[in-house]
Symmetry: none
Subunit: 216 residues, 4 copies
């Protein structure tokens, strides 16, 4: 939704739930545009088409507002990825579809991703904790996939590797690639997901030997 459309929606005497959505939408837009600190409540109120006292009345302080932005967007992201995963297919396919869904979300919700990834971490521990929880959630999901795949192949977990550490690196790589993508558009979510699969599932070594991973 563009900002002008958001403003076009403004009218008078709307029910509280609608106003809250307007305000959160505007807040995500503005926080993504300037970052938390430089963003002014004035701009949020302007973009939302709502006076400042309404914001404070409905959503609370600037911190409260930011926190609720983060939580809403985090839940949306989780939902998008979960919906994108087919739990009945092989581990690598689950990873691939999950990644594709992730990049699909980022593509459609640039502002959400910016707020979640770039801003929330920089503002303070209180907010970073929310994002850290989100990330932990993702890491956990990936860890399960890897471990289950290992078990299927008859291998116990190798003590010298932390499944969690490897998963953290994978998730981090996925996030970093999402950021990189913001500066290099014109690639589809599927392509990005593919790269990550080849890098992490096969590894450089296999790649240079001519092997390629492809969604089956």
């Amino acid at each position: 939704m563009t900002e002008s459309e958001q403003q076009a929606e403004k009218s008078k005497r709307l029910p509280r739930a609608v106003r809250e959505k307007q305000i959160l939408d505007a807040a995500v837009t503005v926080f993504a545009r300037h970052g938390y600190h430089p963003a002014s409540m004035d701009e949020v109120s302007e973009v939302a088409g709502v006076s400042k006292p309404m914001i404070y009345s409905y959503l609370g302080s600037k911190e409260d507002l930011f926190l609720q932005c983060i939580r809403r967007e985090a839940n949306r992201l989780i939902e998008a990825v979960r919906t994108g995963i087919d739990v009945d297919v092989a581990a690598d396919m689950q990873l691939w579809t999950g990644l594709r869904a992730f990049y699909g979300f980022v593509a459609e919700h640039r502002a959400s991703w910016t707020v979640l990834h770039q801003q929330a971490l920089a503002v303070g521990e209180k907010f970073a904790a929310e994002v850290t929880a989100l990330r932990s959630h993702a890491i956990e999901m990936v860890t399960k996939l890897v471990v289950s795949e290992g078990s299927r192949k008859g291998l116990g977990e190798q003590a010298e590797f932390s499944g969690e550490g490897l998963s953290a690196a994978l998730v981090g790589a996925a996030e970093a690639l999402a950021d990189w993508w913001l500066d290099h558009p014109d690639l589809s979510p599927g392509v990005l997901a593919s790269w990550l699969m080849n890098l992490t599932w096969l590894g450089f070594n296999d790649l240079v030997q001519g092997q390629v991973w492809r969604p089956s």
Copy 2:
């Protein structure tokens, strides 16, 4: 260097270069502690043991100051990594030693890394550009390694993969793991580097088949 040591250094009539170093050290400390916007020039001047007019006289505005922090720390990081790499060994070993040097730097310069990675990206395009340049530098180095390894094995670059994209993902994974590390200390730089090597050089697939990469 601790903050008290920094303050202990304050005295009068010092040469300009010394003052500038004091100020930049203090600024990095303060920017890492609070982030760019909440950091106040008052606190910088206090930590540096230098009056505010001196800061403005020597290093310019708050933005200028931050920019110079970023640049100095970026150069230090580059230097540390370059020094850590032995260009005469195999590609995988170069990657490994480079990563180890990177994590070594992060371990020793927490504040520098925080400013570079968490703050600079969130403040504005002007600063993000500096970090992006730094990252591009890293990506370029990795790309060379991968491509040369591929050539050595007689393979041309495969069209469907962007060596740059893969490298971006690897670099991103390395950065993400550095962040993750901040919350999970008690691991040596070598261990982290090892994880990344196994994840990206071998890939999950090899790992679950029992293969392990080890520095030769």
Copy 3:
């Protein structure tokens, strides 16, 4: 009446007079609790169990509301004191019973007294005038007593003393003692009245000579 009882009374479609009483009761409570300026109309409406527009519709602005609080409580106080005085007894007994009635009112209506004495004077001339009128009323009553006692003893008013001035001091002493009482409970209205009688009717000089005034 406790606050919860006040709220329990809230319901719909009550006659105007009842609503106005609810509102004034709540207002006195809230103004006594926080003082005029920090008190918010929101809190008044909440305590009264009545929406803000009703308050404005029935009793006007915040100033109007406060004014009506003051007037109602002032009239209550006057009524309580007048009822407590037996006009057929001697002057000193009238004074004593009047004082006792005054302290009885203060004991039972803490909030009223706080609003009348501490808040109304501090807010502005418009409100102070109401309290000043109340006080003048009291001074006048006391003056009559003193003058009539003087006449009974065959003495004209002595030019060098203003009966009004002396009465003002007595009334002031009575008020001050009421305030002091708020911080030193556990004394009965009769005891306080007794002190004042001994101080002002007899005077320190008589007291130190062993004389004591007692209600006859």
Copy 4:
């Protein structure tokens, strides 16, 4: 000092102590004029001829500022009364000279008295405590006088009277008379002190019998 004189003093680059005095003077003026809550820091800064950041830098928050006003004026009042008392004369004369000094102070520092007596009590417990301490100080002084006079006449303290209670009433009467005076000028401090002496030292009873207390 008039407000215009205060402003006339404004100039640039003054030492901190001078600025602090300017600001406190202005604050007392403004707090007396409007009361604590309606008084704005903008007006204080305007009257002081100093920008708001200086006020916050030197004196702290609005509450801090108010507190320091109260404390400064309380100390001034105490000093004025102490200086006015000759401790080598009889008890009644000490009381009289003390009262005269008190009214002299009030006459010369109207704003100080208004802030101390009308505003500080109404704003909140934190401030009222300061004034209560001041009043306790006065009560204590009076109590000593009365008790010493009783001892001199060979009488022990009478159990049924609290010397403190009587003194509180006297002090309250003195304060009340000061307030009353603000609305009835054209009387000298000596006259007011005289009234109080006759009321409390002799008492109504003696007065109506034709006795009069006069400074010896």
